[in-house]
């Protein structure tokens, strides 16, 4: 077990190294333009040279990367040359709204998954309808769901605000939560089909093959009780892993939904830094996201090992 974790951690470091390297090279693509963006009208050859010396852009690439990596490892992500803000605190501030959105989306999709999967397993005739519904949900991008919901709930029914973000310390938690309803549903709907597919296949497998199901039935438990007390808890391990994987992936997947609802989270930060050619900020954000993806992957695998003894034996 300990060996496995160490092995995993080493693999994580390799992947993170490559991801930051890729991010760094990618961001280099923007850097020439960064000088343009920074200097604006006062652009001249000399000014550009002076600025690039000041920002350290005239050093060889590998050196630049290692300097950045060293600083980042010691907790210093640098200062944005565009907005003059420190990168670290800006990232942390952007994380709040994104985390709230992710929690909301996960709650919506897990609730949908539980209800719909149980219905599909309990009543076989629902199965076809439910899988069709899941397919429909996975065929609509979350920002389209979000916009259609704005049309319905904001501009027609005037029930929910179209600009979702209300800072909890100024507008209060009530307004904040009310605003997060639509973005959470928009994102949750696009995620839940994957969850449902996994849970449904595991539940069906348990129902067909496991003796404890037969025993519970013989005890005289009703169908829904067998499901709720025995089968679903036993099928959760795969789902929990998937939830962890999806969380890591969603941190960057929320860019467009955050744009639709005007949420100042990590996604908006990434979008704005690409627009403003803010290379240093983008590097920091990519590192944050890559770390989140890798950590959540590890958490997912660990959770599976804890929950499912069969995986541990292997």
């Amino acid at each position: 077990m300990a060996r496995w974790i160490i092995d995993r951690l080493l693999q994580m470091i390799v992947v993170l190294f490559f991801a930051t390297l890729l991010g760094f090279l990618l961001v280099r693509l923007l850097k020439g333009d960064e000088l343009f963006a920074l200097l604006g009208d006062s652009y001249s050859k000399d000014a550009a040279n002076a600025l690039s010396a000041q920002l350290g852009l005239n050093k060889p690439l590998p050196l630049q990367y290692l300097t950045w990596l060293g600083d980042a490892l010691s907790g210093d992500f640098g200062t944005s040359a565009v907005t003059q803000q420190a990168i670290g605190p800006t990232l942390v501030a952007a994380l709040g709204p994104t985390v709230e959105l992710l929690i909301g989306a996960q709650l919506v999709s897990l609730a949908l998954t539980m209800v719909i999967t149980s219905a599909a397993v309990r009543w076989r005739w629902m199965d076809r309808i439910v899988t069709g519904f899941a397919l429909l949900c996975s065929s609509v991008p979350p920002f389209v769901v979000g916009l259609l919901m704005i049309v319905l709930f904001s501009s027609t029914l005037h029930a929910l605000p179209a600009i979702a973000w209300a800072a909890p310390n100024t507008a209060g938690w009530g307004a904040n939560l009310k605003g997060m309803i639509m973005p959470s549903i928009a994102l949750g709907i696009s995620v839940f089909p994957n969850y449902m597919r996994v849970l449904r296949s595991q539940v069906n497998e348990q129902l067909d093959n496991e003796e404890y199901v037969t025993l519970a039935r013989m005890k005289g438990l009703s169908g829904s009780r067998v499901l709720a007390r025995h089968v679903i808890p036993n099928s959760l391990s795969g789902l929990i892993t998937l939830v962890a994987l999806t969380t890591g992936f969603l941190i960057s997947g929320v860019v467009i939904v955050e744009q639709v609802f005007g949420i100042p989270g990590v996604g908006s930060l990434v979008y704005n830094s690409i627009q403003k050619r803010d290379a240093t900020m983008l590097e920091g954000a990519i590192l944050l996201i890559a770390v989140a993806v890798v950590v959540f992957n590890l958490l997912g695998e660990l959770a599976q090992m804890r929950l499912d003894p069969r995986v541990r034996v292997k």
Partner: protein, 300 residues
């Protein structure tokens, strides 16, 4: 093959069986396509494609940018504008059809690139093994761990908004997915006789991969590809919505949605119509892909 000294009768038998195999394969494919679960969504998708590519020419629909500002925001059913006009007076139906062309071209183009690059890398990694395989597989891991939307956004932003750049940026998404599937499928057949025998015979790697491995791993790859076309279309809509995909004045469903967003309160149809077009197309594609995948599973 030709090196073997076989009597003519045997050669004819081999040839015959090959032809038979081809015919039965074609017949099976036809049977899959004729099943209603495949045929109905397939027909819907075909209709969308035909409407987008032939519709403007057949029904003399005006160009998507020929409107004048005096025709601004005509309602649905206005004379000469079946679906009304947008804020600067361009015909909405025409923009929908021309925007659909873009979506379909990007979806199919990006998928084709991901499929080709990903499966070549995956198959060769599994076949050759060793250090090369390690490098390729870590590359796939990195691409998966890397926030792919950011990758696409940065590439699209760097290359500038144009059709071919959007295709390129989106194709980066699928490479590792196709690559991993190709790798695992190759692993399944790598030690089978039909790979080991030509290998022992000294056939070069690319011939074995192309002639012996590829035909056996292609069905699941194509199944994934069909799903991926829909995903790529959604991606294009997303990028264009952010202003990083297809640029104005050329229409695409994504930038039509983002344009319409300002008029959400006066003319929500400007957002709703491209949304519906996108949903209908992607749903029909995915239904078709899902049905085909079911058939593949039941046959296997």
């Amino acid at each position: 093959m030709t090196q073997l000294a076989l009597p003519d009768a045997d050669l004819a038998w081999i040839e015959g069986s090959r032809e038979h195999r081809f015919r039965s394969g074609a017949r099976a494919a036809l049977r899959v396509c004729a099943a209603p679960a495949v045929a109905i969504p397939g027909a819907v998708f075909l209709l969308v494609v035909l409407a987008c590519f032939l519709g403007p020419a057949l029904f003399h629909i005006q160009s998507p940018n020929s409107g004048t500002i005096t025709d601004s925001l005509k309602p649905v059913g206005a004379p000469g504008h079946l679906l009304g006009t947008n804020p600067i007076g361009n015909d909405e139906l025409s923009r929908l059809l021309f925007g659909g062309r873009v979506s379909i071209i990007v979806g199919i183009g990006a998928t084709a690139i991901s499929l080709t690059v990903g499966s070549l890398l995956g198959m060769s990694a599994c076949y050759f093994g060793g250090f090369y395989e390690k490098v390729i597989m870590r590359l796939f891991d990195t691409l998966l761990a890397f926030p792919s939307l950011i990758l696409a956004m940065t590439i699209a932003d760097y290359l500038g908004p144009a059709l071919q750049n959007t295709i390129l940026a989106i194709s980066m998404f699928g490479i590792s997915q196709f690559g991993r599937l190709a790798w695992s499928q190759t692993l399944r057949v790598r030690s089978r006789d039909f790979v080991v025998a030509p290998r022992a015979d000294g056939a070069p790697g690319r011939r074995i991969i192309g002639g012996h491995i590829l035909p056996n791993v292609i069905p699941p790859l194509l199944g994934l590809a069909l799903f991926h076309v829909g995903t790529a279309m959604m991606m294009e809509a997303g990028l264009s919505y952010l202003g990083l995909g297809i640029a104005q004045p050329n229409p695409s469903w994504g930038n039509m949605i983002s344009d319409g967003q300002q008029y959400l309160y006066n003319a929500p149809r400007l957002v709703i119509m491209p949304c519906i077009a996108l949903i209908v197309t992607v749903v029909s594609l995915n239904l078709m892909a899902d049905a085909i995948q079911r058939k593949q599973e039941t046959r296997a």
